[in-house]
């Protein structure tokens, strides 16, 4: 049964309203994992590997243990004997991963041992006294090099450095390449950056001897977190209680923390004391296992003289670092939008994930979609340049047209809705008002290099797990549900639940607004609570831009059931058929004017059972477990419906750069954004602006670089890994469009990754437009000022000769 869809006007959905979360944050009352201070807590710090690759010959813990206040030093061998390996995403059973290295280290910063002491400071002192005997072995950092037959193996038992090697062909690719008038090939590279939240990873674990349960408070955004801890620690699932009422200080994908929680959980149980692990920034940047995709794309496009792109071949090589949890799946999610917003008829896709001696990769905002969008958008610009056509015109000719939705792409996903041409026109009108094109000419006339960048791309949203069975046939997961319970107490107050942590996405506001819309009561009257994992309904986490769709869907489902129950009670009490009743703001009235107010209904349900319909349960509570609206079929022939909803964004950016300094400056920034019906406008705006800022970082500033000679990471603090400050982010104008999704109750789509998915592509496009007069281009992110000024200087020398 499909629930009826609502299409406004809405009472609360889409209206500006203060968010319920903000008050606690502005008074400093956010409750983060590191704020928990249980009496008797012990502190753990990891001993970090100094080598990119080495055998561990011996670990001498004596001197560390001799320091007063030190409680234990745990080595990898001891831990591995007592727990099971952490979960792998790809089917690679020989690639075993434990919280602490066993026998050999595979990257600088890897945890080799754990020191536990009465304070963090003592634990740090003791860490200096742990002596590890290493025998360094050859290492490999580069993804391509790691695939060569003579490359040192990161996991010798696995037999190769390749973790995932999958080829898909969707449609008549070879025929179209033959048939098309033109072909071009190019390579682009997305540098190793990440989301780098300001809060590092933090966890406290406590073993309750009497209950035999492990309590965990952690800064997480991880589907199936309690299950994974229980599995690794060989505990029954109902022995792990994860507390979800912890504020997470930013995540944007990376706060997975499995190894942290398993280590802290193990220590808490064995030392019979609360154990806390709060990374410092250096530990976070090296051994925090949170670096993002580092990806090289080789792309070929086949297109006709009218710029219609017919087919694409794409090879994506991802260097996932030393271990892989879910990271190879980041090559899978983009399959659901592999043609972007364009009518490309056939695609061949070769996905390669390789291990290297770098810090492991973790899920990053967009789960691989932003690099893929950058690769596609570069191609669109290149087709335009090849044919001497305007880049906007080329996009216009290739966009899927509004009347073609729902639109089936070659890889099996049906895009739900969109109006790409409509948004393009709106953005161009705004660009005219902002005088962007004329401004570029003025800048050029002043001797600066100036360029306009364009990127149009999709944000697949409503995250399901379809890429899991697609890339790993041993994994048959086809649901990632979210849940909500709505309860009305005997005094008439409404409380609703959600069952995950949040990292700033305002989910409490989302749930309240969704329920308020259905029950027609102000959202402020609804309290939102987060039961712990043992009291929780089945839920996952806020990944894949899914919560507006999934948690919103669950909240609406529960609220509707509750409303139906109220109607059934009223129908019975008033002896009027349900269909004749009118529900308005909590009061139900019959055609003859008799009515039951909210409190009357509540009183019947909670106290006056004799007035209830027969067979109906007393009380007022309803819960819903919501499945992704497109269902959950397994892949067939390498095709599957990936995410259900598809938001669209179109960036237009003006960049100026001084030819000597080579430092790109963003002079104007416009983004057209369509995520269907917006639920909380301030939230969507914040996500979009924040996503763009993050994309500016990926395009120009941020990279986890390594010294090729030594394998040492060279960006380990905020002094060498540069997050954009207020000075680097220009004023941004957002142009809105609302194309409701036909699949969701309010027509909403996701927006948690918006802005980020196209910003880097747009900035690269602008820089290349600026370089065009010199016949140079740059196809590697981040674009560093040094690389740019060298390129410009070289171009000048050539022309002067």
């Amino acid at each position: 049964m499909t629930a009826p869809l609502l299409r406004g006007p809405f009472r609360y959905v889409g209206h500006k309203r203060r968010l319920r979360e903000d008050r606690r944050f502005v008074i400093g009352a956010g409750r983060y994992a590191a704020d928990l201070a249980l009496p008797g807590t012990l502190h753990v710090v990891p001993v970090l590997s100094e080598h990119p690759a080495a055998r561990i010959l011996a670990i001498d813990t004596e001197a560390a243990l001799a320091l007063p206040g030190v409680r234990a030093v745990l080595t990898g061998a001891a831990l591995a004997a007592a727990i099971d390996p952490l979960m792998n995403g790809a089917h690679t059973p020989a690639v075993r991963r434990y919280p602490l290295a066993v026998g050999q280290v595979r990257y600088v910063g890897e945890w080799v041992a754990a020191v536990v002491a009465d304070s963090r400071a003592i634990a740090e002192d003791a860490r200096e006294r742990v002596r590890v005997d290493y025998e360094p072995t050859p290492f490999v950092l580069d993804g391509e090099a790691a695939m060569r037959s003579d490359a040192p193996l990161v996991h010798p038992e696995h037999g190769t450095n390749v973790l995932l090697d999958r080829r898909f062909v969707w449609g008549a690719v070879d025929d179209l390449f033959q048939e098309a008038a033109h072909r071009l090939a190019y390579r682009v590279a997305w540098g190793r950056s990440s989301t780098v939240p300001l809060e590092t990873f933090a966890v406290t674990a406590r073993w309750d001897e009497a209950q035999e349960t492990l309590d965990v408070w952690a800064s997480i955004q991880m589907p199936k977190f309690p299950d994974q801890i229980a599995r690794a620690l060989r505990l029954p699932g109902n022995a792990v209680r994860v507390h979800y009422d912890v504020d997470v200080g930013g995540s944007y994908g990376v706060k997975r923390g499995i190894k942290h929680a398993v280590l802290a959980g193990f220590l808490a149980r064995h030392l019979a004391a609360p154990v806390r692990l709060v990374e410092d920034r250096l530990e976070n940047m090296t051994g925090g296992d949170m670096q993002g995709p580092e990806r090289v794309f080789d792309v070929e496009l086949a297109f006709d003289g009218d710029a219609r792109i017919r087919a694409m071949r794409m090879r994506a090589l991802d260097n996932v670092g030393a271990y892989a949890g879910r990271s190879p799946f980041q090559l899978g999610k983009p399959i659901g939008a592999i043609v972007g917003p364009y009518r490309i008829e056939a695609v061949a896709y070769h996905a390669l994930a390789v291990v290297s001696h770098k810090t492991p990769e973790e899920a990053v905002r967009g789960f691989g979609q932003a690099p893929t969008n950058y690769a596609i958008e570069t191609g669109i610009d290149r087709v335009a340049a090849f044919l001497g056509l305007d880049r906007i015109e080329v996009r216009r000719r290739n966009f899927i047209r509004a009347e073609q939705f729902p639109y089936l792409i070659p890889s099996g996903t049906r895009y739900d809705s969109g109006d790409y041409h409509g948004l393009l026109d709106k953005v161009l009108r705004a660009a005219e008002r902002a005088d962007i094109f004329a401004e570029r000419e003025r800048l050029r006339a002043r001797g600066l290099l100036a360029g306009i960048g364009i990127a149009s791309c999709l944000e697949p949203s409503g995250g399901n797990s379809a890429f899991e069975p697609l890339l790993n046939e041993h994994n048959r997961t086809t649901t990632w549900m979210e849940s909500c319970r709505v309860m009305v107490d005997a005094l008439g107050a409404v409380t609703a639940t959600m069952h995950t942590t949040s990292a700033g996405q305002a989910h409490e506001t989302l749930v309240a607004v969704a329920i308020a819309e259905i029950l027609e009561i102000p959202p402020e009257r609804i309290r939102i609570v987060r039961p712990d994992s043992l009291a929780a309904l089945p839920s996952n986490s806020p990944v894949g831009s899914r919560m507006a769709i999934m948690l919103g869907g669950a909240a609406v489902g529960a609220a509707r059931q509750l409303k139906d129950k109220l109607l059934a009670i009223a129908a019975h009490d008033l002896a009027v058929p349900m269909a004749d009743l009118r529900y308005r703001e909590g009061t139900i009235s019959a055609p003859d004017g008799r009515a039951l107010a909210w409190l009357d209904l509540v009183t019947i349900a909670h106290r006056e059972f004799f007035r209830m319909p027969p067979e109906m349960e007393p009380g007022l509570a309803a819960s819903a477990v919501y499945q992704v609206p497109t269902g959950g079929a397994l892949p067939v022939d390498g095709r599957v419906q990936m995410y259900p909803c598809h938001s669209f964004e179109l960036h237009l950016v003006l960049v100026a750069l001084d030819p000597v300094l080579g430092r790109p400056e963003l002079r104007r920034y416009l983004i057209g954004h369509d995520c269907g019906q917006v639920i909380s406008p301030d939230v969507v705006r914040g996500m979009t602006l924040g996503g763009i800022a993050h994309g500016i970082g990926a395009a120009l500033l941020e990279e986890f670089s390594y010294d090729p000679a030594t394998g040492q990471p060279t960006a380990v603090s905020f002094m060498d890994y540069l997050l954009p400050s207020a000075c680097e982010v220009p004023e941004i104008e957002i142009v809105h469009q609302t194309t409701p999704s036909p699949l969701t109750v309010f027509g909403q789509k996701g927006s948690g990754e918006s802005g980020y998915l196209g910003a880097a592509a747009a900035i690269a496009s602008a820089v290349n437009d600026a370089l065009a007069p010199l016949s140079r281009r740059i196809d590697r992110l981040p674009i560093r000022p040094a690389a740019l000024s060298d390129l410009i200087a070289a171009a000048k020398t050539t022309t002067e000769k």
Binding site: R23, A121, G250, V683, A726
Partner: protein, 164 residues
């Protein structure tokens, strides 16, 4: 261990900490003022910002012992009365100038210090003032708006310069 006497949020606290304890750790762990957050502990991110005699200072770069004899204000000491919000705090709620809230205490304190000395800052002055406070969530747009709104409202209700 050293016994310190610190003036925080208008109150005198007696606390025993190791000599090496940073002001950040002292506030967060010893005094339980958890609104002061650790982001980098090397002076770049500004999440640990507090006011020292009214001026924004990074609590991670100071020893607790160095703070003796100074007036310290943390985010917990900004609201005029319990249950109320300062104009700046209220403006941050109005424009939704945050997401995860981790940078928020530092941002609010930096903004308080700016408006205390410059009641009508330009956009460029607001940006310069917060340029030492990183925010990974918001892209700064709604933060700049909040500070401009707070400035306007403070002028409207005639708050004297010099606070807090």
């Amino acid at each position: 261990m050293t016994a310190l006497c610190l003036e925080v949020n208008g109150r005198v606290w007696h606390v025993e900490v190791e000599d090496r304890t940073s002001l950040l750790d002292c506030l967060h762990d010893a005094l339980g003022l958890c609104g002061t957050h650790a982001g980098c502990e090397h002076g770049v991110c500004g999440t640990c910002t507090i006011l020292l005699d009214g001026a924004p200072v990074r609590a991670c770069l100071m020893l607790a012992a160095q703070a003796e004899g100074h007036r310290i204000t943390t985010i917990e000491g900004i609201a005029p009365r319990p249950g109320e919000l300062s104009v700046v705090q209220d403006a941050f709620c109005e424009t939704h100038a945050m997401q995860c809230g981790y940078c928020t205490p530092g941002m609010v304190l930096t903004a308080e210090a700016l408006l205390a000395t410059n009641p009508a800052p330009s956009r460029a002055e607001i940006i310069a003032a917060i340029s030492g406070n990183l925010c990974r969530c918001t892209g700064y747009g709604q933060i700049v708006e909040a500070i401009a709104l707070a400035a306007e409202r403070r002028r409207g209700i005639n708050i004297a310069a010099g606070a807090p």
